[in-house]
Each structure stands twice: as C-alpha cells, then as structure tokens.
Symmetry: C2
Subunit: 219 residues, 2 copies
DNA sequence: CTCCATTTGTTGAAAATTCAACAGAAATTC
DNA sequence: GAATTTCTGTTGAATTTTCAACAAATGGAG
C-alpha cells in the first residue's frame, strides 16, 4: 500500500485528508488491493455494488454489453481515478456495468459502507470523504453530459468531430493522443468501426485533420 | 412557501430533515420561489451554475441544443425533483444545459453555496444535506447510464423498445403513460420523429404493442 | 362552434450507417 | 527473427435513418 501513496493522495476521494492520516484511514476503511492482468474483468455486471474502485496503476474501461453483444464504452479510467462509486453510493444491489482491465492493473477496493455508515464516532474524516464523493459524482455527471452531447449527434463525422474538439479543449492543444484504439473509439462514439475509419480517412483527405493511430491533430 | 411544504418534504434533498426545522432551514438557505409559464426558460445554457432548482408544481425538461439547432432532451422532471444540482455542486462557472418549463411551473431556487460552504456552526443539517446531495447525484448517475444504454442502440426500433421496457419496469406494469409527446420522445431517443412514428406504427401492426398517444401497452 | 395552431402519421427520395469480407500493417508471442 | 494475432483501412451491398412535404387528427382560443 505504501508504494502507491503518491497515487492515492491524488485520488479525489482523499482530497483534504492529511498525509499522515491517510494510511491509518485506509486501514480503518478496510481498503485492499488486487492485481488484474490485461483484459481481465475487475467487476462484472450483476456483481454486488459494495465496492468503490480506485485505479493505482494501469488503466481500465467501463463498458456495457447488450443482448446482441454490442459493446458500448462509457469511459476510460487511469491512475488515481475512481470507478463504481455511483453504484456503491446509490446503494443499489448490483452494478449495471462491467469494468475490465485495459492493461495490467493494480486496483484498490474500498467497501463503501465503511465510508457512508460505519463510523461510530462521527469523525470529521468521514464528513470529508462524503463531501469528496459528492464533488466527484457531480464532476462525473458532467462527463456523462459530455458523452451524451457527443453521441447525440446523428452522423459519425459529427460525433467524431465533437469528440476531438472536447479532447483538444481538454489538453489545450490541437495535437493530442486519445486513449482509445479504433474499435474502442467506435464503441465510445457508438458507431460502426469501419465507418469510423472511412470517415477519418475522408477528413484527412479534406485537410481537416492529421492522424496517426491514436495521435490526432486538428488543422 | 408554506403551501408547498408537502412537496418540499418529498424532495430528496430534505430527506431526514425534521418537519419543524424545514421552514427555518429554507429561510436560512435563502430559498426563493419563482413562477414560469409554459415554454419559458428557467435556466439558460451559459448561466451561472449557482442555483439548485426544485420543481414545486408543473414539470420541466433539461435540454441541450447544438450548433445546428438539434434539440436533445436529457430528462424530464416533475414535482419534488431537483435539477442543476450537479453543476452547482461541481462548482463550475456556467451550466451546459437549458431548463425549460414544460407547463406552468413553480420553481424553488437555492444558492448551492449556502449548502456547501456557508455554515459557520458546522451544524448537523448541513452534513445531512450534503449526504442527501451525494445520494441524489449517485441516483442521477444511474439515470444517465440508463439513457446511454437506451440511446447506444443502433436502430430506432431498438432504442424505442429499450425505453419502453425501462418504463414498464419502472411502473411494474405493461401499461403505462410516458411523459413525452412524439417529438419529445424522438429528442430523448435521439432519432428522427417521423421515423419514430413509422416504427411505432410498424410495432403496432406486428402486435408487439398497443399505443394511443402517450399511453402504451406492451403485449 | 368555428378557426387556428399543434401534433401525429405517412410517404418517397436522398443520405448515412451497418455489415461482412478482405488485405496490408503493426504488434506480440514463442 | 519468424509466425501468429491484432489492428486498421477499404470496399460494395443491404439496411436504416434522415429529410421535406403533406394530410388527418387533435386541442385550444375566442
């Protein structure tokens, strides 16, 4: 646990928690870490929604798969970011998504009950954690709004351009690297992969953008 | 304010607040109510994100309009429900959506600062409110997941059926009334209205459902 | 009750997406 | 370093959506 301290400190859940309290608190919360190899399932749809996950190393993806096997990527998450917190906080029985390791990962799991309820002495830390959870959930809501704004466009081109503009805005530059390969980008934008590839080619020929694999430049 | 007390008590923000404290608290929070006629804008995109809104009477819709004027409905909200709380809690400068009155409405507005920060005496009520906000945001996240699950389907038919199944599940019956007219349903599902009407007609002829305006029955 | 505005359903043509299949490029494995 | 797997781009056909325009049905105002 010690070796991940720098990552953990950056997790929005622990904002405002003094460094020297962090480890004790993690013990008190019953935090445990697990390792997952690439493509392994960290949480499966239908699993109990008890745990909040925090990515320590590597990266993961939140996905939904429907009856027909269509995969839809809800978001990608990297070190110090949280996942499944909404389901744990909502105290629903089972999670409606699947979380898979995008590369080898170390994941910290915290039983959300310990944050929300199990505090006999109503200590200030729990209040801080709850405040942090609220803040995090509010920010996650904004990401959902963004995704809906992108995927509500009717054409592959418009979805792609909306996504690329958000990425450019996020890093503050016209050159950036996206966290998805082609299939994953298609699953995030909710379009057909081959159609997406074709559209990228067309935009390149039109001089709208340059791209090489995951690297893009808006012109 | 007094006359809306029953509605206000049902608002998830005030869960666990004793009745006899409610009015005082509302005063302390600087809550104010405003009336809006049908189709009027309650909050416009770009407005400061200071206020949490609570619907007292009537109903409203959260919408996004893109460059081309395409409207996308994010959700509909009715009495005792909150809106814009995510933007206020995230403490971003401006809201990214527009809220319009779907019918004549009375709306209560609360400056979120007063909930999150301005409490000198760290009273238990504020902690409760923050906990309630967290809970509400977690539940709202589930609604977003649901909307994405619906709109990620590739055909109008699949989107419509996914939506109707969720509605049926929600009320626990195969007969239900939806809160949208045809154009609004199309804007929620992010499809073309005429195509949606055609698809409903086809499903009816196939014996999959019965429908009369906003009333549906799955067969 | 009548007129007017809104909502809904229908249609056909144009545009876009999806689907399946394949080939070359790139990356990984042994 | 060779073989194998994965990823990416391309294509054409089939399906579906969008778009525009119109008529019927509905609802409200005066």
């Amino acid at each position: 646990m010690q070796k991940y301290l720098e990552i953990i400190k950056q997790c929005p859940l622990f904002e405002g928690i003094a460094d020297d309290h962090l480890l004790t608190m993690l013990g008190c919360l019953g935090a445990k870490t697990e390792h997952f190899d690439k493509k392994y399932t960290i949480m499966a749809e239908g699993n109990p929604a008890k745990y909040i996950g925090i990515v320590l190393t590597g990266s993961a993806q939140i996905i939904q798969i429907d009856y027909y096997g269509n995969r839809s990527i809800l978001s990608g998450i990297g070190p110090s970011e949280m996942f499944a917190e909404a389901f744990a906080c909502a105290e629903i029985p089972a999670i409606p998504v699947t979380v898979i390791a995008n590369e080898p990962c170390d994941i910290m799991l915290i039983n959300c009950d310990h944050i929300l309820h199990t505090c006999q002495n109503n200590c200030g830390f729990h209040q801080q954690l709850i405040f942090n959870l609220m803040k995090d959930l509010a920010l996650k809501t904004l990401l959902f709004h963004q995704k809906i704004e992108i995927t509500s466009k009717r054409t592959t081109r418009d979805k792609l351009m909306a996504y690329l503009f958000f990425q450019a805005k996020k890093v503050g530059s016209n050159r950036f690297t996206i966290p998805f390969d082609r299939q994953e980008l298609a699953d995030y934008l909710e379009v057909d992969r081959s159609g997406l590839s074709a559209e990228i080619g067309k935009l390149r020929r039109e001089g709208v953008l340059e791209s090489h694999k995951k690297q893009f430049e808006l012109l």
